[in-house]
């Protein structure tokens, strides 16, 4: 009988106990993978953004907009290629939990600004064609089951409709995009600035300001110089601005989440401790029952080292099977979890590093849970072991 068969038979001596322990380890590893993925998804939204895009926003507050006149002034700066308005709309689709970002943009400029957006259904022309048309991300289509030509009503909370706060704004889906980069949100809802501005003006009597401007620079230009120039240009008001690269702009929102990373790591650590104790408990129980077996094997001439490895092997086998189930569970449920977190955290994904981490953790737990029984198995004298009942 070889080593592996012996390990399997011994673990299977108590099928229920082994299954339950494996199950417990699987649940914990699944949880650690999922928590870790939430953090990496949050962090990843801030990296690897395209560099030629700059974001210009109020230096005072996220809730303060900039005058429309700033657009022409920024366009006049040397090295600036294109300036697009980007206005957060903040409306509600049917109910507040269907949260996603709607933006009023200069449609043609937005498309040229974001080559990462590939129109997969409908066409750019249809989107540009008339004022109420929108371009929506595949992520939203999956979430709400929309199709081309659907009319989408959105309640304006910040910007009420001229016919009263109970009347929704009407949009028509003209095109659907797929984002080719993980850092570009596939759940955006882009519509025409002109439609937005005219409707707001009808409702409130004044033309709206602009939340943010997205600026594209010439590839050869000095970006930091351009950012400085934009900041200096409006230093004396009426609204001071801050120009940042796209990745900094996104990192700023991630940093506003504050201690999330720390909380999640603390929880993850506690989960691992709990599961280490469970694995250790099982290994100690199982080792105690095998004391006589160890004695017999030793009497038959198996070396101390062999028995050490054999005991440790059981622990590894137990933990690795549990870990494998946990990782598989995390991967299988990736889509579902992604859907559940769609509103708060688009683009949820389990990255390969997380899987490597999980496997590493499982190894360490296997080692820690098995080392004590393994050392005992190595040290025990055959005669002592055999007299154990």
């Amino acid at each position: 009988m070889d080593f592996l068969t012996l390990t399997r038979r011994n673990l299977w001596r108590h099928p229920l106990r082994t299954t339950l322990t494996c199950g417990a380890i699987a649940m914990a590893v699944f949880l650690v993978c999922t928590l870790r993925s939430l953090v990496t998804t949050l962090d990843n939204s801030a990296v690897a953004s395209r560099n030629e895009r700059l974001w210009v926003q109020s230096a005072v507050s996220l809730f303060v907009s900039l005058p429309q006149s700033y657009q022409a002034k920024i366009e006049a700066i040397d090295g600036v290629d294109l300036v697009c308005k980007w206005q957060w709309f903040g409306g509600i689709y049917i109910e507040p939990k269907n949260f996603f970002g709607q933006f009023a943009v200069d449609p043609e400029k937005a498309l040229s600004l974001y080559p990462e957006l590939t129109v997969t259904e409908g066409s750019k022309e249809a989107f540009l064609g008339s004022r109420q048309m929108v371009l929506v991300g595949q992520g939203l289509v999956d979430r709400f089951g929309w199709k081309l030509g659907d009319k989408v009503p959105i309640m304006g909370t910040i910007f009420p409709h001229p016919d009263g706060a109970d009347t929704p704004w009407e949009f028509e889906i003209a095109a659907i995009y797929q984002s080719s980069k993980p850092n570009v949100d596939n759940q955006m809802f882009l519509f025409h600035w002109d439609y937005f501005a005219e409707t707001v003006e009808t409702a409130s009597g004044t033309a709206p300001d602009v939340g943010t401007y997205v600026v594209r620079t010439h590839p050869a230009s000095d970006q930091s110089a351009i950012m400085r120039e934009i900041d200096t240009m409006f230093e004396n008001g009426p609204q001071r601005v801050q120009a940042t690269t796209e990745s900094e702009f996104q990192a700023q929102f991630v940093s506003m989440y504050g201690n999330v990373g720390f909380f999640v790591s603390a929880i993850g650590g506690a989960v691992l401790l709990a599961i280490l104790l469970a694995a250790l408990n099982t290994m100690l129980m199982s080792a105690r029952e095998q004391t006589r077996d160890v004695g017999i094997l030793k009497a038959l001439g198996f070396s101390d080292g062999r028995l050490f490895a054999y005991m440790l092997g059981q622990s590894f086998a137990l933990c690795l099977v549990g870990g494998a189930i946990g990782v598989s569970l995390a991967l299988l449920l990736e889509k579902g979890i992604s859907k559940a977190f769609a509103a708060m955290l688009p683009n949820y994904a389990v990255i390969p590093q997380t899987i490597v981490l999980a496997v590493g953790i499982t190894f360490v737990i296997g080692l820690l849970a098995g080392i004590l029984p393994a050392l005992r198995a190595r040290a025990i004298l055959p005669v002592t072991a055999l007299s154990d009942r």
């Binding site: 417990a24 940093s255 201690n259």
Partner: protein
């Protein structure tokens, strides 16, 4: 006849190392749940316990918070002067104050950015607040001056908040002249003179009005009346109601998180408890056989094992509570999703947290013990006695 309670207790004691590991495993799971709940409690109580029931908040009808509420200046002034239910001081001046509010971008000392609420208040605010808002250091800002006082919790967390520093708001420099102390969420805010703030922010309209009402005014009827007021319609709530409404998003997120962690780790913990009880049964099969053969009924055996498992759960619950107790009072800061600003508060191990933790632990013990207890009471005495 019932099996004495001490039998279950001795069962746990006999197998110390297994019991110890199982109790600590359960304790850790319970501690995770309790820790998240302590965070939720700390956050929610900061708002709900420090809002006053005798102070009223007036918002634009339909607004969900002061961030998206706004009154035209003239209307707010009319409201304060003309609504007879608003209380007056001994000189006949209305006990009401206009406030402007904006979440401004600030840099954290440790790096990165966050949003800090900035509040422009009128002098009456301090009369309305009384001892709830005090000056811990320095002095109050002078009316009409470019001066601010900063909340105690911002010191050391947000750059340029120490006494004497200069805070820029858009293009206007404000000098920090005092440190504001308050038990509630104001300790995370920056306060200045209403007119100066409105000027610096280019927003002349106040976001809200706060006021005390004349004694004897029925708050509910008054709120209803103000909803449809012909001149100055407003949404009226007590400050306590208002502040509680500003905690929903984060509070429910944390509760969902606690439930999710509890469910997933709970399954793992139930498996562990089952294992522990199964091994207890295996070690005592002969004993169980003896008990059954001398006339103890199966139900007595079932209950005895279940009690042992519940005890295991209870011990786990106690250990979990002890493990989580040291975090009580630790200060932390997090983003309030409702206001989109960062707020500082402390973890709070409230009775609710402890009760949830212990009940959760007992539930784990119950679920984990059910199957082994069932197995124990179904044993055939003859077979059980034959086992070694």
């Amino acid at each position: 006849m019932w099996i004495p309670f001490s039998y279950a207790l001795r069962g746990l004691w006999q197998r110390k190392s297994t019991t110890f590991l199982a109790v600590f495993g359960l304790g850790t799971v319970v501690a995770i749940l309790a820790g998240v709940l302590a965070l939720q409690q700390g956050f929610e109580k900061l708002y709900s316990e420090h809002g006053r029931a005798d102070l009223f908040v007036f918002l634009r009808p339909g607004a969900t918070g002061e961030g998206d509420s706004s009154f035209p200046l003239v209307k707010a002034q009319t409201l304060i002067k003309s609504v007879p239910e608003i209380a007056t001081d001994d000189k006949g001046r209305p006990l009401a104050s206009m406030e402007c509010y904006l979440a401004v971008r600030r840099f954290k000392v440790e790096g990165g950015e966050t949003n800090v609420p900035i509040r422009g208040v009128q002098e009456t605010t301090f009369d309305l607040r009384g001892p709830d808002v005090t000056i811990q250091e320095g002095r109050r800002f002078k009316p009409g001056a470019d001066e601010v006082i900063v909340g105690r919790s911002l010191l050391g967390r947000i750059r340029n908040c120490q006494l004497g520093a200069t805070i820029w708001i858009n293009t206007t420099p404000f000098q920090v002249v005092g440190v504001l102390d308050s038990e509630g969420p104001f300790a995370s805010e920056i306060w200045g003179d209403f007119n100066r703030m409105a000027d610096a922010l280019h927003r002349e309209d106040p976001n809200r009005v706060i006021a005390q009402l004349q004694p004897g005014v029925d708050a509910k009827a008054f709120a209803l009346k103000m909803e449809t007021h012909p001149e100055v319609p407003a949404k009226v709530q007590t400050e306590r109601e208002y502040l509680s409404s500003q905690t929903r998003a984060l509070s429910s997120t944390l509760k969902v998180l606690a439930a999710m962690l509890g469910a997933i780790m709970g399954i793992a913990a139930v498996f562990t408890a089952t294992n522990t009880m199964l091994s207890a049964l295996a070690a005592r099969t002969r004993e169980v056989g003896t008990l059954l053969s001398i006339g103890f009924r199966p139900i007595a055996v079932f209950l005895s094992f279940l009690i042992e498992s519940l005890l295991l759960g209870l011990l786990g619950g106690i250990v979990g509570c002890l493990l989580v107790l040291p975090i009580d009072g630790i200060r932390t800061g997090t983003m309030n999703f409702d206001t989109f600003t960062e707020v500082a508060f402390a973890f709070r191990i409230t009775p609710e947290v402890l009760i949830s933790a212990v009940s959760f632990a007992l539930l784990l013990g119950l679920l984990g013990g059910a199957w082994p207890a069932w197995r124990a009471c179904r044993l055939l005495p003859t077979e059980a006695l034959r086992r070694r």
